[in-house]
Structure formats: structure tokens, C-alpha cells
């Protein structure tokens, strides 16, 4: 058999050149169709479960609707003006920022420290991992009750222990100066395990080679290894933990509701609680919706800004 005779004859087809691009285009369209039919359900659901409701909230924010009322009227930006002028809202905003500023770094630093400690040895890893992850799984309303008892100003374990050690005690939940830090500690307590697990996963994916290289290069003190290898390599995880924990911190609600109801005064009021209270306790749905809009705006903006700022410093593979 010679090479030439085994070749097909289609090259002679004069229409071949025109047919080809058409077929290719059809194939490309078919490919996009497949992709969209895979992503389609998710897209439709994302729109109906997330984006339409958000628009509905936007719309409600422009009205004076009260929950359950049969009438409402369009009042434009009045709700927003009121929100921005409201002292309670401003306190709530400041508290939320304060809380986030404590909880996020606290969770990240402690979560990382515990992850490093767990990973630095071989024994009991699963055990330590599990107990530190426990708070993340517990029903917070139930745990808040336990916290309330622990923080009791006279018969609580915390104050009794402090008093026993001769340290000053405090009325944790009813003192303007302590209530937010206490909530923040509970927030850290709850999210710590989550951050720890993510960091553990991150640590596992750092190649051993880099530590060997650091050893050879002389970076063999824990401090140097941390700075030369561990921390930079954990950059992307930290970024992820940061965003997730920040979002969770912004959305803190249960502890406030069970432990403090935002008090004393507005000292522990936080955005999601304000939103809830306006909408469901005070039944001022239109106003609550405008709080929601402002809340969403703040959360999205801060998350994006922080992500952008950190993104610059984070190394990606």
C-alpha cells in the first residue's frame, strides 16, 4: 500500500472550505449550551434565592410598610435619611466594626496558633482537633445560656474564679466597657475551630521541601521558619479564613439576642440585631429593609476592600 492511495478523497470537495467554519461554530455553540445547562439550575436558583430577594428588600426600603399592615406608601429615601441620622444605628455600626476588629484578628491568630501547635507534633492530633472544633458545631442558643450562667456577676464561675485568685471581677454583660469584648470573646470561641481546621488543611499542603530548604538555609528557629515559610505559604488560606470569619462576624446575631438584647443601652447592639429588631420586634419593615440595604452595602464594601488590600500581600501559587 502506498501512502498516497490510502488518503481520503474529500480534499477535492469544493464546498469543504465553507462547511468547516460552520461546523466549528456549531460545535462551539453546542459546548456553550452544555455548559449553561449544567450551570443553569444553579444560576436560576441563585437569581431566585438571592438576587430577586435582594431587589425586593431594596424595594421595600423605599416604602413605609409596617409588618402586617395592608397599606403602604412610597416614601423615597426617607428611611435612609432616618437610618443615617439614627443614633442607635450609628452605635450599632460602631459596635459592629469594633466587634469585627477584635473577632477577626483574634480568631485568625488563635486559630493559627492552635493549628500550628497541633501540627507540630504527631500525637493526639485528632483529639485536639475535635475539641477545638466543638464550639463551631454547637447550637449557639443553648451555648449562650451556658455562657450567661458562667458570666453571672455574683455566682458565675468566671467571677468566682477571678475573685478566688484575688483579681478584679466585673459585671460582664451589663457593663458598657465589657459587654462587647465579652461578646467578641464568645465570637472567637465559636469561630476558632473553623479557622483552625482551615489552617490545618493549609499547613498540610505546604511542601516539606520548603522546610528542609529553610533548615539548610539556617532558618531553623521556629520564628524564622514561621516567617520564611509557614506564614507566607498560608497566605491564600488566611485570605479565605479572613473573608469567611469577617462575614460571620458581621452577621453576629444569636449571642446578642440571647445574652444582651443589645444592651446596656446600645452598648452591644450590632447591625444584624438592629435589623432584626426593627423588622420583627418593632415591625417597621420598611425601615428595617433600609437598614438591611445599608448593612449589605457596608458588608460588601468592607469585604471587597479588605480582600483587595490583602490580596496584594498574599502570594498565590
Amino acid at each position: 500500500m502506498t501512502i498516497a492511495s490510502s488518503m481520503p478523497e474529500r480534499a477535492a470537495d469544493p464546498t469543504g472550505a465553507a462547511v468547516v467554519p460552520k461546523m466549528l461554530r456549531r460545535q462551539r455553540i453546542a459546548e456553550a449550551f452544555v455548559a449553561w445547562s449544567l450551570a443553569g439550575p444553579a444560576l436560576v436558583l441563585l437569581v431566585t434565592m438571592f438576587f430577586l430577594p435582594v431587589f425586593a428588600v431594596f424595594a421595600i426600603a423605599l416604602t413605609d410598610w409596617q409588618f402586617g399592615a395592608t397599606t403602604l406608601s412610597f416614601i423615597g429615601m426617607a428611611n435612609f435619611r432616618e437610618v443615617l441620622a439614627d443614633e442607635g444605628f450609628r452605635a450599632s455600626f460602631a459596635n459592629t466594626i469594633f466587634y469585627v476588629v477584635i473577632v477577626v484578628p483574634g480568631t485568625i491568630v488563635l486559630g493559627l496558633a492552635i493549628a500550628l501547635l497541633i501540627e507540630s507534633g504527631k500525637s493526639c492530633r485528632a483529639f485536639y482537633r475535635a475539641i477545638h472544633f466543638l464550639p463551631f458545631m454547637a447550637t449557639l442558643t443553648a451555648m449562650a445560656i451556658a455562657w450567661e450562667a458562667l458570666l453571672h456577676p455574683t455566682i458565675g464561675l468566671v467571677n468566682q474564679t477571678l475573685a478566688g485568685l484575688g483579681l478584679p471581677t466585673a459585671n460582664w454583660l451589663r457593663d458598657e466597657n465589657t459587654v462587647l469584648p465579652v461578646l467578641a470573646i464568645i465570637g472567637i470561641w465559636q469561630n476558632l475551630g473553623y479557622a483552625m481546621v482551615l489552617f490545618l488543611a493549609g499547613l498540610k499542603s505546604i511542601p516539606q521541601d520548603l522546610y528542609d530548604a529553610a533548615d539548610i538555609d539556617g532558618a531553623d528557629l521556629w520564628f524564622d521558619r514561621l516567617r520564611t515559610v509557614t506564614l507566607p505559604m498560608l497566605g491564600p488560606v488566611t485570605m479565605f479564613v479572613f473573608i469567611v470569619v469577617a462575614l460571620k462576624a458581621f452577621e453576629t446575631f444569636d449571642t446578642v439576642q440571647v445574652l444582651t438584647q443589645g444592651g446596656p443601652g446600645h452598648a452591644s447592639e450590632m447591625l444584624l440585631y438592629t435589623l432584626y429588631r426593627e423588622s420583627f420586634e418593632y415591625l417597621r419593615t420598611g425601615y428595617g429593609a433600609s437598614v438591611a440595604v445599608v448593612f449589605l452595602f457596608i458588608v460588601v464594601a468592607l469585604t471587597l476592600i479588605q480582600a483587595r488590600v490583602m490580596d496584594k500581600k498574599v502570594h498565590y501559587q
Binding site: A39, A42, P53, M137, T139, A149, L192, L247
Partner: protein, 281 residues
């Protein structure tokens, strides 16, 4: 790490490690210890100026019996299991194909879709509850299991996590599957999902923890007690006006959190692995 790993259990570094972790672990466990302790105490011993873990009079049987019978806690737990299973199943069902498309296919609008996923990831669900309630009413599912499930069938976090994990699966495997004759959907279910099992387990735990403990939406979406979630069993003993019934309340709390702990303990290996491959890269 080999240099530090070569130190045995008895070295100062190892002892310090255990000491610190035991202390932090103990601190973290205090509320849980408190919870379990209260759950076995009689009402008269619940609040005492002096503490003891073990009660003078063991009252666990009474408290746990009350927790299980006063409200239909077992029923709530079954609801929890059913609803969480449905939610996780639906989420995997919806998210895996979308994540596959985002990770491995090229199509117009891909970046827009991914941006939408990221924005949805940021939106807190509580804010959307009222419109979702009306939506549930419009589609006529309120007060059914479906009402508990439908807002969660798509999870932006799931799409995100799966996408990250799928990206680590080599293209060649997909090419091989196409040559072998698998359709794109078959590739998702027969190749990607089995290979991403750790990520799916990790996601499953997150999802189950979230929905098992949630009270906010179920109380809005359903009013039939037979559909209610586990935390309602705790709420039955919590009352603003009359005061909390602490013993059964804590017993119910213990019962509600126990399945999650067991699930986590039995799946924790995959859990960390799943995250290693996914979110974290």
C-alpha cells in the same frame, strides 16, 4: 519539620505542646462541661454558689426523659436528619454541575456567573427571609418539608468550594472520559464527584452544622410542629416570662449537639483532606 519531629514524646517541646493544647482545649470545653453538668442536676442544685460537676442527687434520667418527651425531640431530630440530608443532597446535585462548568468549561457569561456566586456568598440569609417567605407562599410550599429546603438548594459556598477542588483535577482525566464516551453530566457524577469526595464531605459537614442548628428560617417557613428542627426541642424549655427549665434544657442541648459531634469525629479525616484540596489553594 523533621528536626522537631525527631524529638520524642518526652521532649520539652512536646510537653509544652500538650500543656498548651490541653489548657486551651479545657477553656474551650468549659461551656460544654457546664452544659452536661447541668443536664444531670436536679432543679434544686442547678444554681449554687459553689460548683461541682457531679450532682449530689443524680437527676440525669429525669432531665433526659423530660427533654425527650415534653417536646417531640426525637421527631425534631428525625426532621433535622431528613431536612439536612435533603439540603445537602440538593446542594450537591445543583452545585456540582455548576462548579464543574465554572472549573472546567469555557462558555460566555462564565465570569459573570462566578461573580454572582461570590456576591451571593456574602449575602446573609437572614436579610432575605421576608422576600423568601413570600416566594415560598407564591410557590405554595409553606409549611412543608420543601419550605425548609428550598432556600438552600443552591449554596454559593458549595459552588465555590467544589470549583476550587475540581480545578485541581487534571484536564486529562476529563479528556479521557470524553474519549471514553461519557457525557458531560456523566463526567460530573461518575468522575468529578467521586474524585472530590473529601471536599463533598467537608462541605457536607459545614452545611449540616449550619442547618441542624438553625431556627430562624424553620420558624418562619413552617408552623406544623411535625416539621420543626431540633433546636425547637431546646426552646421548649426556654421561657422569658416564667424562667428557663435548665435541667431538661441542657439535656436537650446535649442531645441535639451529640449527633454532630459523632458525625464530625467519624468524618474528620476526610474533612481536613477535603479542605486541603479545595478552599485552601
Amino acid at each position: 519539620m523533621s528536626t522537631s519531629a525527631t524529638h520524642g514524646l518526652g521532649s520539652p517541646a512536646a510537653i509544652t505542646r500538650h500543656a498548651i493544647l490541653l489548657i486551651t482545649g479545657a477553656l474551650i470545653l468549659i461551656p460544654f462541661v457546664w452544659m452536661v453538668s447541668l443536664s444531670i442536676k436536679p432543679p434544686g442544685e442547678i444554681f449554687h454558689a459553689s460548683f461541682s460537676f457531679w450532682p449530689k442527687q443524680f437527676y440525669g434520667i429525669e432531665n433526659y426523659t423530660k427533654a425527650l418527651t415534653e417536646a417531640p425531640l426525637p421527631r425534631y431530630m428525625l426532621n433535622g436528619v431528613f431536612v439536612c440530608t435533603m439540603i445537602v443532597a440538593a446542594q450537591v446535585l445543583v452545585c456540582a454541575p455548576a462548579a464543574y462548568a465554572l472549573a472546567k468549561l469555557e462558555f460566555p457569561g462564565k465570569n459573570l456567573l462566578f461573580a454572582m456566586v461570590l456576591i451571593a456568598l456574602i449575602l446573609p440569609h437572614e436579610v432575605l427571609s421576608l422576600p423568601l417567605f413570600i416566594l415560598g407562599y407564591q410557590i405554595g410550599v409553606l409549611n412543608t418539608y420543601a419550605a425548609l429546603v428550598f432556600p438552600y438548594v443552591v449554596s454559593p459556598f458549595g459552588i465555590f468550594l467544589f470549583r476550587q477542588f475540581f480545578k485541581t483535577i487534571p484536564d486529562d482525566v476529563i479528556h479521557a472520559a470524553r474519549l471514553d464516551g461519557l457525557s458531560e453530566l456523566a463526567i460530573v457524577w461518575r468522575i468529578m464527584v467521586p474524585m472530590a469526595l473529601p471536599a463533598i464531605i467537608a462541605f457536607g459537614i459545614f452545611s449540616v452544622v449550619g442547618h441542624w442548628n438553625s431556627l430562624f428560617w424553620p420558624l418562619i417557613a413552617v408552623r406544623d410542629q411535625n416539621l420543626m428542627p431540633p433546636p425547637l426541642g431546646i426552646m421548649a424549655f426556654k421561657n422569658e416570662e416564667a424562667g428557663n427549665d435548665y435541667g431538661p434544657l441542657m439535656a436537650a442541648s446535649t442531645i441535639v449537639v451529640a449527633p454532630l459531634i459523632i458525625a464530625f469525629l467519624s468524618a474528620q479525616r476526610w474533612f481536613v483532606e477535603g479542605l486541603t484540596g479545595g478552599a485552601v489553594k
